[in-house]
């Protein structure tokens, strides 16, 4: 067995038992990347020397009997939206080409402090705006299960790198489904934590009231182990919440007997792929057979979530992206006559079409005369969507649904039609609007061999229960052991 076929926790065990060294495994990852990433394009750039030095340091610590923690020496990689000191960070945008951050994101620092070598920066949609990784200014990422298809987005590289067995764990961000939908498309596990659970400091901002960083890996246990490293109060992020961090692996094997699982009827709609629906219905039967009680619940404002999201997220994005003006960093248009022209030309040349579209939409929604009709209205509907969830969670422990209405679609299929692309997020974005945790895990395959994702949504800060419910299903199948045919 190749070391790259191990799960993150299996590798951690082998490192602890000194059956392999971090240097050997890091080199194995780099060779695997050299071998398959030409087809997948999950990595935008590698930090070979940094990763190898971190691996050697890890091995030296272990040699002295002083590992930093249970994941010391396990190689990971991060989406290009995370600032990495001294390593180019572009958010897959032309406007940030050549930008070398002067500091690390808190999450990146936590990975380093846990002793984990960081292999490099992962492909994504430009500024995380997209559901297929096709808005990346560096070119699309490909799904290892079928390279003519999208790995999902915006954290496409974070999911594809795992499915391609290039790395053991990754970081992504989720503003409307950007961790969970790529996980669903690639037979991997992705967790969007509760808003405030994981620090946003040093994560390039898209929509500040919705953005959440989180881990992806190949098993539920692996994701729990990564969350243990990341979940922390951060005084540098004023929206980070000082809630106690539980032991996320303590209850993992406790099963679902006695738990109540809600089945939101609005998430089983017309237009859903029949194979996706069948897989989720099958998963519900499995949960019932394991002793969970299924409860039919209604989230009546679900149909308004998409419209609400596509007002709030672009509005916040238009404000956040005002900082890219060619003055302090990033691209500056060369031939501008004055300051104003320099702003306009730099931004027009630096941003891709989807980013401009969202800046325009957000600017319009916030502009004089439209604020009440669009932005404020959307914020009020957001309250109704949150209240739907609050009511549901009075009855049930968690909600079960598909992650995405369809399996991975073909690259190019939806690029020209923004609205049909936006519809890809219909089951994931309500969690972001309500600030709740959501987990996507492998839920089966279509007859054509494409992965299907199962989504679990939970109460605020109840990640441990979502992971436990996810693990109960994972144990019943061999889905996580199946390998993409690369």
């Amino acid at each position: 067995m190749q070391p790259t076929e191990l799960t993150l926790l299996e590798l951690a065990e082998k490192l602890a038992a000194r059956e392999v060294t971090s240097l050997e495994v890091t080199q194995a990852c780099l060779s695997r990347i050299a071998q398959v990433d030409g087809k997948v394009k999950a990595f935008l750039r590698l930090d070979e020397s940094g990763a190898l030095a971190a691996a050697e340091a890890s091995d030296a610590r272990r040699g002295k009997g002083n590992p930093l923690g249970p994941l010391d020496g396990v190689p990971v990689a991060v989406k290009d939206i995370f600032l990495t000191e001294g390593v180019e960070t572009t958010c897959a945008s032309r406007i940030l080409q050549g930008f070398h951050p002067p500091y690390d994101a808190t999450t990146v620092r936590l990975l380093k402090e846990a002793g984990m070598p960081i292999l490099g920066k992962l492909n994504q949609d430009e500024f995380a705006m997209g559901s297929s990784n096709e808005t990346s200014a560096c070119g699309p990422c490909h799904n290892p299960w079928d390279v003519t298809r999208t790995p999902g987005g915006s954290s496409g590289g974070s999911a594809a790198a795992l499915a391609a067995r290039e790395v053991f764990g990754t970081l992504g961000t989720d503003t409307g489904g950007s961790i969970r939908q790529p996980a669903a498309f690639t037979n991997t596990v992705g967790l969007k934590p509760t808003y405030g659970r994981v620090s946003r400091f040093g994560v390039i901002a898209f929509a500040s009231s919705l953005d959440v960083p989180g881990p992806l890996a190949r098993t539920v246990g692996d994701v729990a182990a990564l969350l243990q490293v990341l979940a922390r109060h951060d005084p540098r992020d004023s929206t980070s919440v000082p809630v106690e961090v539980p032991d996320y692996s303590a209850d993992l094997e406790h099963g679902v007997a006695g738990l109540k699982l809600g089945v939101p009827r609005e998430y089983f709609t017309e237009g859903m792929d029949p194979e996706v629906e069948a897989a989720v219905r099958e998963a519900l039967k499995v949960y019932e057979s394991l002793g969970a009680t299924l409860v039919d619940v209604s989230l009546p404002h679900t149909k308004y979530a998409l419209a609400t999201y596509y007002l709030i997220a672009p509005a916040e994005a238009s404000s956040n992206l005002a900082r890219y003006d060619g003055v302090r960093y990033g691209l500056r248009a060369r031939d501008a006559k004055g300051l104003k022209e320099m702003y306009g030309l730099s931004r027009d040349q630096g941003f891709g079409p989807e980013v401009k579209r969202r800046i325009m939409l957000g600017t319009y929604a916030l502009s004089a005369g439209y604020y009440d009709a669009y932005y404020l209205k959307a914020q009020k509907v957001r309250t109704l969507i949150r209240e739907d969830f609050n009511r549901a969670f009075q009855q049930v422990d968690a909600l079960v649904s598909p992650t995405s209405p369809v399996p991975a679609f073909k690259l190019g299929e939806k690029v020209e039609d923004p609205l049909s692309m936006y519809l890809m997020d219909v089951f994931t974005l309500p969690c972001n609007l309500a600030g709740l945790p959501g987990l996507s895990l492998p839920g089966g395959f279509t007859k054509g061999g494409l992965p299907i994702g199962l989504q679990l949504m939970g109460r605020p800060f109840d990640e441990a229960k979502l992971l436990r419910i996810g693990r109960a299903f994972e144990r019943e199948h061999d889905f996580v052991r199946r390998q993409a045919p690369l």
């Binding site: 500091y103 509760t194 238009s318 600017t363 319009y364 914020q379 109704l384 609205l419």
Partner: protein, 95 residues
Amino acid sequence: MKLTVEQVRHVATLARLSLTPEEEERYAEQLSAVLEAVALLEELDVSEVEPTSHATLTSSLPREDVTRPSLPPEKALANAPARVGTSFAVPKILE
């Protein structure tokens, strides 16, 4: 709600985007389609509903007001497209 090219131009000015004429045409069409879709919210009466401005479930915490080292000028200026001494240089402001 159909956006005109003039409205698109106005919004582009607010957003400091110098769009090409082709972009103006395309965005007028695409943004109109999105606005049509979000008009779904009009059927809801939210006059009695409080807005949710943030997903934070507890109120945010101020941190201690203490002096801390910030980025040294060399690091802060390292990514500058143009600089003069310890300042960012920009094209002329008065036209």
